[in-house]
Amino acid sequence: MDTPVTKAPPAAPEAIVKLQGLAFAHPNDTSGRNVLAGLDLVLPRGGFTAVVGPSGVGKSTLLRVVAGLARPSAGEVRLLARPRPDRRPAALVFQDARLMPWRQVAANVAFGLEGLHLSAAERRRRAQEALALVGLAAEADKWPAQLSGGQRQRVGLARALAVEPDLLLMDEPFSALDAITRHTLQDELLRVWQKTGASVLFVTHDLDEAAYLADRVVVLGGTPARVVHELTLDMPHPRLRGALAEEVAGLRRALEQNFVGGAGI
């Protein structure tokens, strides 16, 4: 990636993703309706950004575009990751874990490694490391069908971590889990994030989750969707779950205002 050399003030953090005037319409949607339009967003390297917004606003679509799974119809997506043969610039964690039932846990985690320049021994080592990182080293030889929902989600996370991505994209990864499991995994994710230094783009519809995890929350709204509100949270981790009421209330207001606005005022 050839970024123009600019003398940025030292305080401005290096960016990992730059979205500029991004628009997206589903190619097989005959109405040509834009899901996203005029969306600008810069994600700082190493940051934890949460994206919230009403259902159907285009959060998953945004992730798919950033992941390169869908081509924007206008505007620009720039992923400022240095390409390296043994790592992937970005990796995705799906809401439904999306494990391959014919592969055991370790082989599922190694899936992304098979596209990289790594020896079989290195692939095994990296998969083991990633599994250990999410606390599943003992389950390496199990079949996905033998895991609980929380364990499956952890495997999905390990698969993404194994390719050591600069950018970790997560689409409501914990929304299908019970509260206790969700809280455990949130804390694990924070630990992993701090340990690996990856940048995280985390989609959720749970405002408490966004406020608990992220150092920045972006609210998507309107049709077509764009960024309608941003909130920076600079409290250090670990945060107290009960102590974020004010932030959550602010996010809820932003969400509700724009929901009304999006409905046509």
Binding site: L69, R88, M100, F111, G112, G115
Partner: protein, 258 residues
């Protein structure tokens, strides 16, 4: 136990089944021995093992089984591979699908055995002709099984492959599409294995060497004991191939049974 209704599960089902078989064979033996049925119509069951010994001694049994197995294997392997490949290609390549659609619609309703005359014209009464007839039937079974199995592959897994740098056609095919479709493909192969034996007998009744041809010879001289021997031989071979394939399936598809 006395609470069980009369139609309840038997206490020793295996014993009952064995008794049933013994009675069946006993009645059969008795009807032939007493002359109720002439041996030219039905052999006594006790005559069949004797026939087996004779057929093994004169070397015919092993030759016939070897011939049948050889064109069975050729036809089933080629027919299955082609069927799986073409079926998968139809499911994956919309243009190819459209191009072959009417050809398939034209050829597919032709019963495989209706190809026997052409097989004999093209290849003579040879192993190749038998393999061809077997292959035609096996092809269509696998063509449909593989096509629907590949179509049913979860699109989420395709997206997963793309998200992790394995989205190219062949990588995706090898790492996602074929494994995901493998249960359906395997069950197509399995039904082909059964239909293959049907075609073996039919083809050999037309003079291609093998078990079926030996049956025609035996029928010609009313050697019904030999006839029954080869009927049971076919049943045994079918049972054996099905059993072996089930073993393979169980190993390869261990993940479907968790």
């Amino acid at each position: 136990m006395k609470d069980l209704p009369a139609g309840g599960p038997p206490r020793y089902p295996v014993l009952l089944s064995a008794a049933g078989l013994a009675i069946f064979l006993g009645v059969w033996e008795a009807t032939v021995r007493t002359g109720l049925l002439p041996p030219a119509w039905v052999p006594a069951p006790s005559a069949v093992p004797l026939a087996l010994v004779r057929e093994i001694r004169n070397g015919i049994w092993i030759t016939a089984v070897g011939d049948s197995l050889s064109h069975y294997a050729t036809g089933v392997i080629i027919g299955s591979l082609l069927g799986i490949t073409v079926g998968a290609a139809v499911a994956l390549l919309p243009r190819f699908d459209a191009a072959q659609a009417w050809v398939a619609r034209l050829l597919r309703p032709i019963p495989p055995l209706a190809w026997i005359p052409f097989a004999l014209i093209w290849f003579g009464a040879s192993q190749t002709a038998a393999a061809f007839i077997i292959g035609v039937g096996v092809f269509w079974l696998n063509y449909f099984a593989s096509q629907s199995a590949v179509r049913a592959v979860d699109s989420g897994l395709i997206e997963l492959a793309a998200a992790f740098g394995q989205g190219g056609f062949f990588r995706r095919l090898w790492k996602v599409v074929l494994p995901a479709a493998s249960p359906g493909i395997f069950s197509g192969v399995r039904s082909g294995l059964g239909q293959g034996w049907m075609a073996v007998v039919a083809a050999e009744l037309f003079g291609i060497p093998g078990v079926g041809q030996r049956m025609t010879e035996a029928a010609g001289v009313l050697a019904t004991d030999v006839l029954v021997l080869y009927m049971l031989t076919i049943a045994l071979l079918y049972g054996l191939t099905d059993f072996l394939f089930e073993l393979i399936t169980n190993r390869a598809m261990a993940w479907t049974r968790q």
